[in-house]
Structure formats: structure tokens, C-alpha cells
Amino acid sequence: MNIDPFLIWLESTALSQWVVGSESMFAFPGILAIHAIGMGFAVGICLALDLRILGVAPDVQIAQMRKFIPVVWVAFWVNAISGVLLLIGYPTKALTNPVFYLKLLLIAAGLVLFRRIGRRVFDEAAGDARADSPVVQRLAIVSLVCWVGAITAGRFLAYTYHRLTALG
């Protein structure tokens, strides 16, 4: 399937050209900065939850960590939106690079794991005991691996692309 016509069209849109070409610090640089802040909160809180399950800060009642869930989701949506804007800016760069799909896959896996872990441990009465179960411990380790992988894949996007733009 040749998606070049689509890529050429997308790169010709005003939004794409604003993201890439605008002199404004709110365009490409600002979107990148927001994407990094969102990552810090979304991934950071997921890591903190995994660490808690794996035995760090044992006095924190694990069900109470559900209070941070909204921060994870707000940060996730901030990154979904800023990520789409970056994608609209450089669609060819991302969509022709397998590493980009790997990054999306790892993020999806990380979020599914976050929800699965949450369903088990965000329970006032049983959460702390369930966190010690081998199943949840394993989920937490896989979650850590997914987030490390997603971050690494994201960073490698800047070094592994084959084509920057459709016409370039």
C-alpha cells in the first residue's frame, strides 16, 4: 500500500506547516516540551506504582495511590494530543519507521497493564495483600519493561528514520 499521496497531502496542510515551520516557540519546540512533561507525569506515576508494588514505600496504602490515576490520564491525553500534532508535523518520518509502531505498541501495553494492575490493587480492603501476589508482581515488572522500552523507542525515533518528509 502506497501511502505517499496521503503523506504529501498531510504535509501540505496548514497545521502541518505551522508545527514544522513556525518561528513560534509554541509550535514544534513547545509541543515537544509539553510531550516531555506529559511523559514525566504519566510514565513517572506508573513507575512509582510499580515500585510500590515491588516493595518500595511499603507504608503507603496502595489503594490510596488511585488518587493519582487522574494525573496519569490527564498526562496521557496531553501526550496523545501533542503526539498527534508532532505526527501531523512529520508524518513520513514516523509512519515509515517501524520503531514508531513499536513505541505505540509499548505504550498501549503499558496502559493495559496499568489498568489491570489498578483493578487488582486499588481496593481499600484487599489491595495491599493483592499487591504481594506473584501475578501482580509480574505485571509490575512487565509494566516497568514496557515503559523503559517506550521511552527508548521514542528517543530512537530521532535517529532511526529513513525519510524525513514525503517529498524530501
Partner: protein, 188 residues
């Protein structure tokens, strides 16, 4: 004066850098960058959540219990200081003359001094056995400053690329050099 120190630093780092060779091997730079981003997440995930707790989120968690996450946030900081130094020791002119790096350094200093202020001023009130679940106002101000400082560090870090120093071409910066004077080439 400061300009001379900057030029001296850049030229000495280039002449004696212990890690530049390693960092220029294939994939070393992106791998260290990935580690730098992971450290960022640890720092925000552990120190940022502690700050949010001080500000009133997850109110039922005792502050001392939440504080047990802090060593992992400090580990994130140490990871980032070390990986950051590796970038600096490889491409010193890209940082030492970069205004975004100057601000990044400023915000790191603010974050560090702010954390020190927390332990010097609020430790007993927040951590004593009969401490309230609601921290004193001073601790909340410190938490807000902490969040602001670390988020600013991320912003400045991400801006580094867009403020890469251009050759000086005769113009003179004010406090800190923000353009790149010609490098002294080693004559060996």
C-alpha cells in the same frame, strides 16, 4: 570574567574529555538520552507525586510513608546528572554557550536549594510521630516551587536544541557567553 571561564571550560573539556570517544560510538548518544529520559520519569514520578501529596492529593497517605519514594526520585536525579555530564563532556560548546542550558542549570539549582529548604525548615513538623496529615503552608509552598522548578528543567532541556549557540561573529553577550567563539585546536 565569566566569559573567560566558559571558554576555558569548553577548551579544556574538549582537550581532556574522558567520555567523548565512548559517546561518539554508534548508538551511545541515543542510549544515554533514553536513560536521561527514564531518570526524568523517575524524578517526576517519585518527587512530583510527593509534592502533589504535600499539596493535598491522596490526603490519607501519611507524608512520612509517601516520603519513602523520595530515594528513587533522587536516584532519577543522580542518573540524570551523570548522563547529563556525559553529554556536557562530549559536546561542551553546545551547552556552555547555550542560553537554554544556563536556565536549565538555574532551575536545577532552585530545585536543589528548595529541597534543602524543605528538610531544614519543615522536616520536624511534617515527619514527627504526631504530625498532621495536612502539612503546614510553608511545606505546600515548597512543594509548588519544586513542581515548577522540575517542570521548568524539562522545558529548558527540551529547548536546548533550538537555542544552539551560533558562531560569535564579533557580537558580545552580556552576563554569559551565548555564542560560540572559535575553538582552540590542540596542537599535538
Amino acid at each position: 570574567m565569566l566569559h573567560d571561564i566558559q571558554v576555558w571550560l569548553v577548551n579544556n573539556i574538549i582537550a581532556h574529555s574522558p567520555v567523548a570517544g565512548l559517546m561518539r560510538t554508534a548508538w551511545a548518544w541515543p542510549i544515554v538520552e533514553s536513560i536521561h529520559f527514564l531518570g526524568l520519569c523517575l524524578l517526576i514520578g517519585c518527587i512530583g507525586t510527593f509534592d502533589l501529596r504535600l499539596l493535598g492529593m491522596a490526603k490519607r497517605v501519611p507524608i512520612a510513608a509517601m516520603h519513602r519514594l523520595i530515594p528513587w526520585g533522587i536516584l532519577g536525579f543522580v542518573i540524570n546528572a551523570s548522563s547529563g555530564v556525559m553529554f556536557l563532556l562530549t559536546e561542551p560548546d553546545q551547552y556552555i554557550y547555550n542560553p537554554s542550558f544556563h536556565f536549565k542549570f538555574l532551575f536545577i539549582t532552585i530545585g536543589g536549594l528548595n529541597a534543602a529548604t524543605f528538610y531544614l525548615s519543615s522536616y520536624r513538623q511534617v515527619f514527627s510521630a504526631n504530625a498532621s496529615l495536612n502539612p503546614p503552608r510553608r511545606a505546600k509552598v515548597i512543594a509548588a516551587v519544586s513542581l515548577t522548578a522540575w517542570v521548568s528543567v524539562i522545558i529548558c532541556g527540551r529547548m536546548l536544541t533550538f537555542y544552539r549557540p551560533a558562531p560569535c561573529n564579533g557580537q558580545q553577550s552580556t552576563i554569559l557567553l551565548e555564542c560560540a567563539p572559535p575553538l582552540e585546536r590542540a596542537t599535538r
